[in-house]
Symmetry: C2
Subunit: 134 residues, 2 copies
DNA sequence: CGGTATACTAACAAAAATGTAGGTACTTCC
DNA sequence: GGAAGTACCTACATTTTTGTTAGTATACCG
């Protein structure tokens, strides 16, 4: 009986993820973490807990809607922790969970590499491709 | 004259990127690398050169259109190299440039972490959030 | 000779992401 | 007292992304 299917393990046979498989849950997680704002939220929260408005000010360009949505998603995935104090002018604090800290380490490595190598990346090729710029 | 603006350096004063700034070019690069298919293409090409149809078969779920678009973008950014042999049934080979190899290392670290920790991520929380699942 | 494969592009359509505006309930600052 | 700040949500509008279908020129397989 060593090859039982254990049927429930992870909703499916994904005891180990495979992002190249379209229906593997790992792909959804990857999308959340690498979404336009998800990455930036992770990077920012890695520097310490932030309040909603505070995040919004640091991450230039996010709308309230997108920030809220992104935070909820990351919270659902277990990467960020939301702590709300029930006071009258609302006070909510967002921070990374232990799992979030691990994940953040990787996205930070990527963003840091990009930031540090921007000159190399922008310089040579990339002749201002007309429509691919955006 | 040590503080000249050198006006062109990087289209702007971005000698070092800052993804938190909305108009910093690093943010666009980040988007390309972390786009839905961009990440998967990088991961796949990191295992060696691939032809178009080959990539399409390995990355489950991409449409031809998206794959072509993604490849062009990554090529413009200087991460992938496209080599076309002008033969009648077209033969094109895609591979990572040295810059691409460096970038790929980071996205691979992230995807590998996710794949390896899927049980931890899916297990506890994430009670199948109704609409955030997708 | 008909079907399949290659590497795409163009045109059109549908779906998903994102932005905007307005509202809430109450407090602090000027 | 009026303005601004807090942390959001809801509805609506727009933008972006993604998918679908068809087409190209030619060669190989049976």
């Amino acid at each position: 009986m060593t090859l039982s299917k254990t049927a429930h393990d992870l909703v499916d046979h994904w005891d180990r993820g495979n992002v190249l498989a379209a229906d593997c849950p790992s792909r959804a997680i990857l999308q959340h973490l690498t979404s336009k704002w998800g990455t930036l939220v992770m990077v920012t929260l890695a520097t310490g807990p932030h309040r909603f408005a505070q995040l919004r000010r640091r991450i230039t360009g996010v709308s309230e809607r997108m920030l809220a949505q992104t935070l909820q998603q990351l919270e659902a995935d277990g990467f960020v922790l939301r702590v709300a104090r029930d006071v009258v002018p609302p006070h909510v604090s967002y921070s990374l969970t232990p799992l979030g800290v691990e994940a953040a380490a990787h996205v930070i490595a990527l963003t840091a590499w990009i930031e540090g190598n921007l000159p190399r990346i922008c310089a040579p090729q990339a002749p201002v491709a007309p429509e691919l710029t955006a």
